[in-house]
Amino acid sequence: MDKQTGIAEVVESIPRGATIAIGGSSLSRKPMGMVRALAARGQGDYTLVVDVGGPDVDLLLGCGKVAKVIYAFVGFEVMGLAPHFRRARESGSVEFEEWTEYTVMAGLDATVKGVPFLPTHAGLATDLMAVNHSFRTMRDPFEGEEIVAVPALRPDFALIHANLADHQGNAVILGDGHVDVLCAKAARHTILSAERIVSSEEIQRYGREVQVHRVHVEGVVEMPWGAHFSGCAPYYRADLGHVQEYLLAARDPAEWDRYRERFVTDRPDDYLDALGGMETLVGRLDV
């Protein structure tokens, strides 16, 4: 089945209040093209599910599209804290639920396996157990020890950016898969963007690098530089210059409005133009 679609259709298909899992990690292979489109035109009130978040969560928060965030981490690493995440956490304007890296994986995996929860020791003797109201503790029925029950996470949508995909939704991820495959399997609807759409014959040459399989995928959008300003290994690096521009703009409401006007769009071509075009990006970030 040909699952190729356009970014406008993707935004349209995601209803207000949807729970959206976002792939990638930190500044690596975030589906930023789709995120930007949702930030520009999405219906909003989303619940976001991320393992290691950064520009994805922060941009959607900064554009007022988020009702709740489930996260293990949101930040810009050594570049700094995530400004809109920080503001929203401190003002209490959005609901937050702090999880951990493995428990987000376990929650998605529970959905994949069709079980209500998965057990772990992670979280015990920390304050997460007090602030995360989704976690429960229970008695291990075999040994009687106290363990954490991580409830199944069932996203309505998963957004993932891949290096290559075919029109049926098989996708090659050449770098770290992060939690993308779990997101793709656990979500009711998984949408891929890819640097390039290639034929199904060509995709087979990648063998085990075809990490996402078409039976889990509903839509495919071709989007060169679709992870920018995060990186997409081994094609291009995270754009730290742009991260800096983003962080500076986020400090001031007027600057932030200007940033949004310039860069937050559902038209990928306009975005690339605003960055000075593809050739500029190749010169700065291509590896």
Binding site: Y71, V78, T100, A125, T126, V179, A233
Partner: protein, 283 residues
């Protein structure tokens, strides 16, 4: 040997890494300590790269934020499942740099002030709860030892320290074992698993530690001076990090960000030269 505080800390951190385990290189100091340990006393370490998880990689410190620049740096690819399996099996080590650490070794990277209404929202617990419930060695470092970073009690426990709750729920799995700061090396051998000095860095007095900490630290009578790295050790660190990414963790946030952007670009240019040596050298 003349060395700077970052190099001294890296050398102290390297001394705690041994055996055949995966070692995270999620920060520059962590990456360089793993690299130094592997080059000296711990050749069997399997050093990871970040964020594109690969094993057997010589870490480039700025790649803590970046990407593999060439296929050569990819090493043996690992999945998130591989990493967490190694954590749960206690075949993994990581140097963690918390925003706050307290007397009992609880650590915080989640928030300053109450979690529900934080004065400063930090980043979130990430994988620290997994580490502090499974690993037999838990390693922390703090580049700015002060009453704000080394505290009586953390504002939020992102990671489990010592105490009755840990003893009941986890036993010794994931208990804190080491803290290296810019003032000295510490363990948790004080009363009830509290902070105790192991050595103080050259020029650091007992008073400086007492006044520079927000909690009481056990300072044994016969406290040695931290051993300096050898000239060879310092050479390994400097050649692995010629652009000085290790200095960033000692700078303020904005200064560090600016310096990183510069280093990141110089690294890209340098690696392009390595890949295509016939190109003109960019200084």
């Amino acid at each position: 040997m003349d060395c700077t505080i970052d190099e001294l800390m890296i050398a102290c951190m390297a001394r705690s890494l041994k055996g055949e385990v995966l070692v995270s290189s999620v920060t520059a100091l962590g990456a360089l300590s793993a690299h130094l340990a592997k080059k000296t006393h711990a050749p069997d370490l399997a050093v990871l790269s970040t964020p594109e998880s690969g094993m057997e990689v010589t870490p480039l410190p700025t790649l803590t934020l970046g990407q593999f620049l060439t296929d050569d740096q990819r090493g043996i690819p690992l999945t998130m499942e591989d990493i967490f399996d190694a954590i749960f099996l206690d075949r993994f080590r990581i140097w963690i740099s918390p925003a706050q650490i307290d007397r009992h070794g609880n650590v915080n990277i989640s928030c300053v002030g109450p979690w529900e209404q934080p004065k400063v929202a930090l980043v979130g617990a990430r994988g620290i709860p997994e580490d502090t419930s499974h690993l037999s060695e838990i390693l922390y470092y703090v580049t700015s030892h002060s009453p704000r970073t080394v505290v009586e009690q953390v504002d939020f426990r992102s990671g489990a320290g010592n105490g009755a709750e840990r003893d009941r729920l986890l036993g010794r799995r994931g208990a804190p074992t080491r803290l290296v700061t810019n003032l000295g090396v510490f363990d948790f051998g004080g009363a009830d698993g509290t902070l105790r000095a192991v050595s103080l860095h050259p020029g650091v007095t007992r008073e400086a530690v007492a006044q520079g900490s927000g909690c009481e630290i056990d300072l044994p009578a016969d406290l040695p001076e931290t051993a300096l790295p050898s000239a060879a050790d310092v050479a390994v660190i400097r050649s692995a990090d010629p652009l000085g990414a290790r200095k960033l963790e000692f700078l303020s946030g904005r200064e560090a960000a600016q310096r990183l952007v510069e280093i990141y670009e110089r690294e890209r240019q340098a690696l392009h030269i390595a890949a295509w040596p016939r190109r003109a050298r960019i200084s």
